[in-house]
Amino acid sequence: MNNEPAFELRDVAFSYEGKQPALVNVSLTIHAGERVAILGSNGSGKSTLLKLLDGLYFPTQGVVRAYGQPLSEAAFDDDTFNFAFRRRVGLVFQDTDVQLFSPSVWEEVAFAPMQLSLKSGEVEARVDGALRALRIEGLRDRAPHRLSGGEKRRVALASVLALQPDVWLLDEPTAGLDPRSQCWLIDFIAEQGQAGKTVITATHNLSIVDAIAGRVFVFDESHRLAAQGTPEEILSNQELLLACNLSHAHRHRHADSGQEHSHPHSRPPAHAHDAESMRLTPEVQSPRHQTKELKDT
């Protein structure tokens, strides 16, 4: 890992027009080649942060720098800068449906290389390479909007992989994936990291954090950066996780003892009976919890 900062945020604030702030007073540095997790509950500002890092929105206060350059509307009006930046940084949106808009998978994946004005031979090579890497060659002529959730996620990744970006911005990439696809996605992130790419993943899924990141930034519900540290430090800080609504105390019955009790719940592996749902988010954990809730109501 080299120490050049890929992104630097100084006192950044952002609010959508006429709305409450979505990010408040955020300062952070992400180095090139680092794998980072942005952790926060729904609405804490993760997606907004990724859009700021991708130069799609610009801070209402403070500065966002990418590779030393301040990101601003004026900077992106310059075609050369826009070109160089878009080529280097790729964002996989939280909602795959907004990302997949072309009539066929092939055209979808070709969209970014075409914008780079590559020669058509090169475009084809990139698209084929991306389809192969994600093992979706069989989908090339299908319409993206008619695919399953897992297939859509792969197409969305392929559409960014075809850019061959140095920086991956992934917005809740495991949402809606079955456990097997989640494992596969974690491997994909690890591979990109080994290839020296910067991988920034927004998530509220605590169970994947130590697999996808070497450093964690935690956002709280007031849209501020609440903490940063290694996955071990963050995940063992029950108080922090409770305060940021990333973990919750709830009642449930232990299968072995039949006793009911209440305790905080954050890392599924901590519970023996949760072994099979390790990859699931805290909210949708073991089927047993759900059965109980149904019985209660």
Binding site: D79, R86, V98, P103, A110, F111, Q115, A143, H145
Partner: protein, 291 residues
């Protein structure tokens, strides 16, 4: 099953077709969104072997514009009817099933015309053809106006449908940019296409989720209220979607003035020139004859 028709616990009653729910609005909306999706996203017809599929997209766009102009300027029902017949012949020659084509076009017609044509029946002054209650009279001039409108719109929609059904969408966009149609126009068109299917899916999802929650029958008023509420949600969603889709395009390097994807380089061949000539001649003839 118990005699009164209620099922024993833990089993479902036999479906009985005579008890079918009459959810007219819902079914109509579902049909429309389904049909729209098929009409707009029928890439498979664009890949078929047919007359129009073999032509250069630029020619198709120009020919369509010329014929649209002819339809708008012509004042003869026979001439416009003739142009409508031409679109049917072209559909047939382009391996588009005629029943599919005609049904698709006429299904959307009420939306384009109904609102305008209906009042025209009554308010165009002239000798009355039929007297209706409330002092309304259908006039001959009113009928003619409505007929003109219907025929004009159906012919125009057919021309547009022919272009879309026989040309991959990216080629349509690229043709527009080659022909120096303003970028903002292509951009809006491109984005419209991109999120129409999302909206359609949202509509059908909303109705599906409603269906799964509504056990009993809804009254007409309740049904209308739900449709109204859905429309509001949809409007908000569509605004959100359009901006998100645009961000997603921007993120992958799209600029309003950048290249529209589409690999095939356009090259005019002899049959393209002939087709263009025929279309322009036809349009000119229609305008002169229909004056």
């Amino acid at each position: 099953m118990t005699p009164d028709g209620s099922p024993p616990a833990a089993s479902l009653p036999q479906p009985n077709p005579s008890r079918r729910r009459s959810d007219v609005i819902e079914r109509t909306l579902a049909d429309i969104s389904h049909a729209l999706e098929h009409a707009l996203f029928a890439e498979e017809t664009a890949r078929r072997n047919g007359l129009l599929q073999a032509l250069d997209p630029r020619v198709k766009v120009l020919a369509m514009l010329a014929l649209l102009l002819a339809v708008a300027l012509s004042h003869s029902l026979a001439v416009i009817g003739g142009l409508y017949a031409v679109t049917l012949a072209l559909a047939w020659a382009s391996a588009i099933p005629l029943a599919f084509f005609v049904k698709r076009v006429w299904l959307f017609l009420p939306f384009f015309t109904g609102v305008i044509a209906l009042p025209a029946l009554f308010i165009t002054p002239g000798p009355p053809l039929a007297q209706l209650p409330l002092g309304l009279a259908v006039t001959r001039a009113g009928v003619t106006t409505a007929l003109f409108l219907l025929l004009r719109v159906s012919t125009s929609v057919s021309l547009g449908a022919l272009l879309i059904l026989t040309t991959p969408w990216n080629d349509v966009l690229k043709a527009l940019s080659v022909l120096h149609v303003p970028d903002s126009f292509s951009l809006i068109l491109g984005m419209t296409y991109r999120y129409i299917h999302l909206l359609l899916r949202t509509v059908s999802d909303m109705f599906l989720s409603r269906k799964s929650r509504v056990a009993g029958r809804l009254s007409g008023a309740e049904e209308r209220r739900m449709v109204g509420a859905s429309a509001g949600v949809l409007l908000g969603k569509s605004l959100h979607l359009s901006s998100e889709v645009y961000l997603a395009m921007q993120s992958r390097g799209y600029r309003s003035h950048s290249r529209v994807p589409g690999l095939a380089a356009f090259a005019m061949r002899r049959r393209d020139w002939s087709a263009l000539l025929i279309a322009v001649a036809l349009a000119a003839a229609a305008i002169v004859l229909g004056r």
